[in-house]
Symmetry: C2
Subunit: 491 residues, 2 copies
């Protein structure tokens, strides 16, 4: 009955037809961000998004601490000279730095420009050289949650890519290369636990080709997630920096044998605001937002179906259900009287509330309520005495079901190609291509450029996990394939 005659006010473009327009409309209609701030590339994050983002930070920080990282708060400004200590790093980041050059009413000009941190290496390692003295100080694992600023030349999109974003960066120092390698594995494990299990986004870790590494890294591993448009989005990356930074920054220690040695450094950077954007993009549908159960600002909304003569009964039943749930869940009775039930349904669907509980006069008579799950639209009449159990059952499976759906999607989208025409077709059909490739060293970049020119897609690298598929020849040049790589368009 409820909802009859109400025009569904979802999103006016389909996600399938025009992902960009769909995403933009969702961000606006679910009130996630406002793009009208008067500096280009900077947006305001609205409460509905911020509440989830804070939960994501809290979960991630807890996980990092469980694995032995301790929190720091480092300054947001970095002297220019710090950057110049590592040549590739400065070269990579120089085009993207916002510079503070003066203070006050114009009289104070800084002798040395100060960078608004685009990434923290050159601040952290300056201090690490003071903090790390002996092998007893290792392993040294620290992280910071904070903002970074990058003068992006690429098109910005709220949460996905902006000129200010919100992330965690972990910087770790080890006595040996093998300890550092273990950390990279641990970072990947944390990624799967967080991005995969908690945020319901399956990712594949790729070792990036040599021409696509973090500036200053020995090796870059990055998690790619798949969006419905067929483009991948890079989520956390973990980098083996080796001794590239520890030498110029003198991050060294006296080893057991009394010798001075340089530490092996790894860094890991989950960009929470970007992960939030990916989550919105990946789980959302044409009705609106879909959020993992734990991350939803409201987990269950109770909507009364009100008629004048039964209003009090229905409302008191709603409040009773609210009371049953509110100890464990974030729950809300929508008592507004200037909206119809149908309008409320639409609004909470747009906002991605995982569970809706409808209570009408007939439900009260039967001692039941109608429980609707957001991700699959299923409706069930449930006895009021069993509501808590029903919601708890949903809480247990909701996020897993979101993830499983995406896993299936991901697996189906990977297409093996042996020739360029096959690859071009597969990419234009919004797939990810698996193919043979001549080399991930710098000599392979030429073939990667050809793919990029023809299709707009990039060589994302080779899978970190064991790769079962082997190809004989490079899909571009036909030379023997040293690697099996994945090719996709990306955000």
């Amino acid at each position: 009955m409820a909802g009859k005659g109400i025009k569904k006010k979802g999103i006016t473009v389909s996600k399938k037809d025009d992902f960009s327009a769909w995403y933009g409309e969702l961000v606006q209609k679910a009130e996630l961000a406002d793009l009208r701030y008067n500096i280009k590339g900077f947006v305001c994050y609205m409460p509905w998004a911020v509440i989830s983002i804070k939960k994501m930070f809290a979960k991630y920080e807890k996980a990092l601490e469980k694995y032995g990282h301790q929190p720091l708060i480092m300054p947001s400004l970095i002297p220019e000279s710090n950057f110049h200590l590592e040549a590739k790093h400065v070269e990579g980041f120089a085009p993207e730095v916002f510079w503070v050059t003066e203070a006050g009413d114009g009289k104070k000009k800084f002798e040395e420009k100060l960078a608004l941190r685009p990434t923290g290496e050159t601040a952290f390692y300056k201090m690490y050289s003071l903090w790390i003295q002996s092998y007893k100080d290792l392993p040294f694992k620290r992280y910071q949650s904070g903002s970074v600023w990058r003068y992006e030349s690429k098109m910005t999109r709220p949460f996905f890519r902006g000129r200010e974003f919100h992330w965690i960066e972990a910087h770790n120092v080890f006595a040996t290369l093998s300890d550092a390698e273990k950390q990279i594995k641990e970072d990947m494990k944390i990624t799967h636990e967080m991005i995969g299990d908690e945020f319901a986004i399956p990712v594949i870790f790729f070792e990036r080709p040599k021409w696509d590494m973090f500036p200053g890294a020995v090796r870059t591993h990055a998690a790619d997630a798949l969006t419905e448009s067929g483009k991948v989005i890079q989520l956390p990356s973990t980098h083996l920096l080796g001794t590239n930074f520890s030498k110029p920054f003198d991050v060294s220690f006296v080893d057991k044998d009394g010798e001075k040695r340089y530490g092996y450094i790894t860094c890991y950077g989950p960009a929470i605001s970007r992960i939030y954007g990916a989550m919105v993009a990946i789980h959302g549908d044409d009705v609106g937002l879909v959020l993992p159960f734990d991350l939803a600002p409201v987990q269950a909304v109770i909507v009364p179906i009100l008629f004048e003569d039964s209003k009090d009964n229905v409302l008191s039943e709603c409040r009773k259900i609210e009371k049953m749930l509110s100890g464990r869940y974030s729950v809300k009775v929508d008592e507004r009287d200037d909206k119809s039930p149908g309008e409320k349904f639409n609004e909470w669907e747009m906002k991605g509330v995982p569970v809706r509980i409808e209570v009408g006069p007939k439900d009260v008579e039967k001692g039941q309520a109608v429980v609707v799950t957001r991700h699959d639209g299923k409706k069930n009449a449930v006895k009021v005495s069993g509501i808590e159990k029903a919601v708890t059952d949903i809480a247990k499976r909701f996020t897993k079901e979101l993830k499983d759906r995406q896993m299936k999607n991901f697996a189906e989208r990977i297409v093996d190609c042996k020739t360029m025409p096959e690859l071009e077709k597969a990419i234009s059909d919004n797939n990810i291509v698996r193919c043979g490739f001549c080399s991930m060293e710098l000599d392979g970049e030429k073939c990667a450029d050809i793919i990029k020119d023809k299709t707009g897609a990039e060589v994302r690298g080779k899978k970190v996990d064991k790769e079962n598929k082997k190809f004989l020849k490079c899909v571009v040049c036909g030379k023997p394939a040293k690697e099996t790589v994945y090719v996709a368009k990306s955000y």
Copy 2:
């Protein structure tokens, strides 16, 4: 027995004799901050401080949300033109702003300078004018947790005052002045709940004199806390901005009667990093840090007294106690074998761990442990079966006892003065003076300047709570006293 022959390694200067040196040493020895970062006025916050600061943020955010505030994340950069909309605001903050003038490798110069947010009004209200349209949107209560940057000319001191600090700012809009006034009262209530009850720092709220207001405010209320040196430190302030900002920023709404009206704005700014510094300064002693129970990174440390022949027994008893406590408390067994028990005692006292549990072989024989509380040094032998209850009892009273101690100190330090010589003596004896004063309007500033010149102390304003004490004459000029004010030196 433990600790015998161990030189107490507390702080080498007494807090009473030289507060500044004491504080500096405490910050270093308890490993709270490192001042060696290579930009003046910017420091690195170390894990032991950051863990407590994060807990403080979480408590405060929860309280603000309980009172109906919703979280935002606003950009850190603000266009210069936003500042110029409110004349007094720009005048007050202009000398303190860090300016971003360029990006990238020097080619991109911004047409308009971008301020690193020294405070958020001019970013928030620019957006509020878009977000607030109707009386239905009011009250509108939002907050942000984040960093602010100020090119301070005053001497910096870690946590107390730095060029980057970490705070919460809440900005609220109301339809009427009286609603705004109620918000000011609510802000004060939150302050007492948080700063007073949770962080154990008693404060007095003062209405500041007209010459000492937040730039752009109609009225400023600020909470002063007392330190042992007799100086006060300003903790959160809450400002009635009235329509001073809503007019130039056009924060307006269509009222029930269809008329356009300007919103009444209040703002509230608890600077968490500064409150942390105050907490360290106020509760600490010559042995080290003292922290409110909830905020301590480790709440109970278990120190085994190890001898070769009983080592296994003692360690297993320690782990048993750890297991009993670890569900409810943050607890740690200090198993290091390169430190003596006495050295461990000193270290954990320096770090401000509220409860120490000592377990030696004789304790194991008797089925007991020795429980020591950090704030009063009291030792009690407790049956192991009763340890959880003992710690829970301590948890309940610890923070309250810290606060009560400070309340007593605060009350004793307030000295009534009728003449300037009395005032000068009281200030030089490290007290807070209560006295008659001619006027808190701008015509009173001359008398305030005389006090400042003679004593270095400032007129902090009149108490917001009811003032029972009346004076006949202004302590400086002898004219009739319109107000009873408080005078103190400040950080």
